[in-house]
Amino acid sequence: MELTYEVEGGNFSKAGHASSSIKKVLKQLNVDPKVVKRVVVALYEAEVNVVAHAYNGIITARVEQGSVSIEVRDQGPGIPDIPLAMQAGYSTASAKVREMGFGAGMGLPNMKKNVDVLNISSQVGVGTRVELITYF
């Protein structure tokens, strides 16, 4: 089953819409609550990243028996140095964004911690594609 959501860059009040909706689906499927929590934490981080850094994005979740794979693809500035971005605490967020409680530099590390597979590819000036796979 495939679920698709659009994400609007800069709209923090809507951040979490896709995560919330996918959470609902996984709960209805009786996926183990601990797994649901991990998926949702990771996806929420990814969603907020798009809102904080990109112009817009598309989230596509594929739910199958035994796994959920989510692709987050955005049009945005891209990540110049992925290994650096993966370091805990490293952040490019502006002061304005930090003031809103975002941008602690834990986004990608948190995602990695919570999913079974994390793939990132990015092109500076074009956008980023993040793939999150969780097995259950």
């Binding site: 089953m1 951040a15 979490g16 995560s19 919330s20 959470k23 689906v25 709960k27 209805q28 499927l29 009786n30 996926v31 609550p33 601990k34 649901v36 929590k37 949702v40 929420y44 739910v63 199958e64 028996q65 035994g66 409680g101 259950f136």
Partner: protein, 460 residues
């Protein structure tokens, strides 16, 4: 996942029910359907919050209570009265007179439910230091505990496993009476409840094997009896030197909004009204907005227990009166009362709740593979349903109808809009369409009836 059957206090009086959808539309767990013109409640989804009863325009939903005469089966008859009961009476009616009236009606003892609040608070604060999953959630409101079990099963570990005042106080009081040499079989503890959820909690407790409470009396029933007595016998309790044991001031306010949150440590939020609670729990599960909160006081009713479905007076006035009354009462703690003595130690050992288990709503069944198929089927069905959420199919919204269809509990032709389309394409005769509607809404439901609510001869 436990497969227990739960007692529910909310019932539909099918003679009264007109099948109007008000309750169905308000139910926070989508547990109500209309069949044969009457509301039916899905027992395993109901959390006894009482929203349906509040929404019913014809009082067709009622709370089953124990027969009042049952109190006379016992020699010692204890009325366990929550503080909100007293907040319903005018300022001029003293607590002494209320106590006297309750005794005049037949009880031998009046016991204030919130007197154990301090003991409980101490243990809950202690738990705050011991439980890793933040925010911790109050175990006080049984509708919320059940809501978490069925809709937020991942959060059951956040509920503090300490018994709420009603359970703690009944254990303490019973133990005290036994200590006075009274035979256990002579003691009848009757809880006067402001809501349906508390009755269900007594009849089938969560995290406790069996309640020590012998019966439950609806608060509106006792309020009416006391009020009548106070009017008919104005001198009741007058000049009586009734000794009301001191109650901790803050404890008396425990069941009101902020009654617990004010006393816990760290960042505490108090949220009342079940839809507000659902919104918060949804956010708690998804976003990181709620992560630095230490304690959540969650109540199913607006203004806490003052807004319970069995309360007879305006909830805002009850809150105001109770706050004022409390200030004029003698402040004291349980340990000041020598009568309790050893019973307090007993309570201390019996204050912990057993594990609370999740029992999630399984709209598509327990098996993930099957559920996935059914969910896809429901998504397909949603392509055809109009998304108007009118309730005319007997389900609260199109999504619920789609889910019902996947469980073979309904058909697409239950949708009145799809019926028109089917008729247009000659797939359904108009006679058949009427028969379907009558199945949902009852026979003759569409006939002219001038006595219905709002019609020309209403009530005649």
């Amino acid at each position: 996942m436990l497969n227990e059957s739960f007692y529910h206090a909310l019932n539909v009086n099918t003679d009264q029910c007109t099948g109007c959808t008000h309750c169905m539309m308000k139910c926070p767990t989508s547990a109500i359907r209309i069949r044969d013109g009457k509301a039916t409640i899905r027992q395993d989804w109901c959390v006894d919050c009482g929203e349906c009863m509040r929404a019913c325009p014809v009082d067709a939903i009622y709370v089953a209570q124990d027969d009042f005469a049952r109190i006379f089966d016992f020699k010692v008859r204890v009325a366990l009265l929550p503080a909100v009961f007293f907040g319903q009476f005018a300022d001029t009616v003293s607590d002494e007179r209320i106590h006297a009236a309750v005794q005049e009606i037949g009880f031998t003892h009046v016991c204030q439910v919130e007197q154990t609040a301090d003991v409980i608070t101490r243990r809950m604060v202690q738990a705050q230091g011991e439980m890793p999953d933040k925010p911790l959630i109050s175990p006080f409101c049984p509708a919320i505990v059940r809501l978490i079990q069925v809709r937020f099963p991942a959060l059951v570990d956040h509920i503090i496993p300490i018994k709420p005042p009603i359970d703690a106080t009944s254990i303490l009081y019973k133990q005290m009476l036994i200590g006075q040499g009274i035979d256990e079989s002579d003691i009848g503890l009757f809880y006067v409840t402001p809501c349906a959820a508390k009755i269900a909690a007594v009849k089938s407790p969560v995290g406790e094997k069996q309640s020590v409470i012998n019966g439950v009396i609806n608060m509106d029933f006792l309020y009416n009896k006391v009020q009548q007595l106070l009017i008919q016998q104005p001198d009741v309790g007058q000049g009586m030197a009734l000794e009301i044991p001191p109650i901790p001031h803050k404890g008396a306010l425990w069941s009101l909004t902020n009654g617990e949150a004010d006393r816990m440590q760290g960042r505490c939020l108090a949220i009342d009204e079940i839809h507000n609670v659902i919104e918060l729990l949804d956010q708690l599960e998804t976003t990181d907005q709620i992560t630095d909160v230490d304690f959540l006081e969650l109540r199913g009713c607006d203004e806490g227990c003052a807004g319970g479905v069995l309360m007879s007076r305006n909830r805002f006035l009850i809150v105001e009166r109770l706050r004022k009354k409390t200030l004029s009462m003698k402040d004291g703690s349980l340990t000041d009362n020598p009568a309790y003595g050893a019973a307090l130690d007993y309570l201390d050992e019996h204050l912990t709740l057993d594990e609370i288990h999740p029992r999630s709503i399984q709209a598509f069944g327990a098996d993930v593979g099957q559920a996935l198929k059914k969910m896809q089927q429901a998504r397909n069905l949603m392509c055809y349903l109009p998304g108007i959420d009118c309730g005319a199919c007997g389900a609260p919204n199109c999504q619920s109808l789609a889910e019902d269809i996947t469980r073979r509990e309904a058909n697409l032709s239950h949708c009145i809009f799809l019926q028109r389309t089917m008729e247009k394409h000659r797939k359904l005769s108009s006679d058949h369409a009427i028969r379907i509607i009558e199945k949902t809404w009852g026979k003759d439901r569409l006939d002219k009836d001038c006595r219905k609510k709002g019609a020309k001869y209403e009530g005649k």
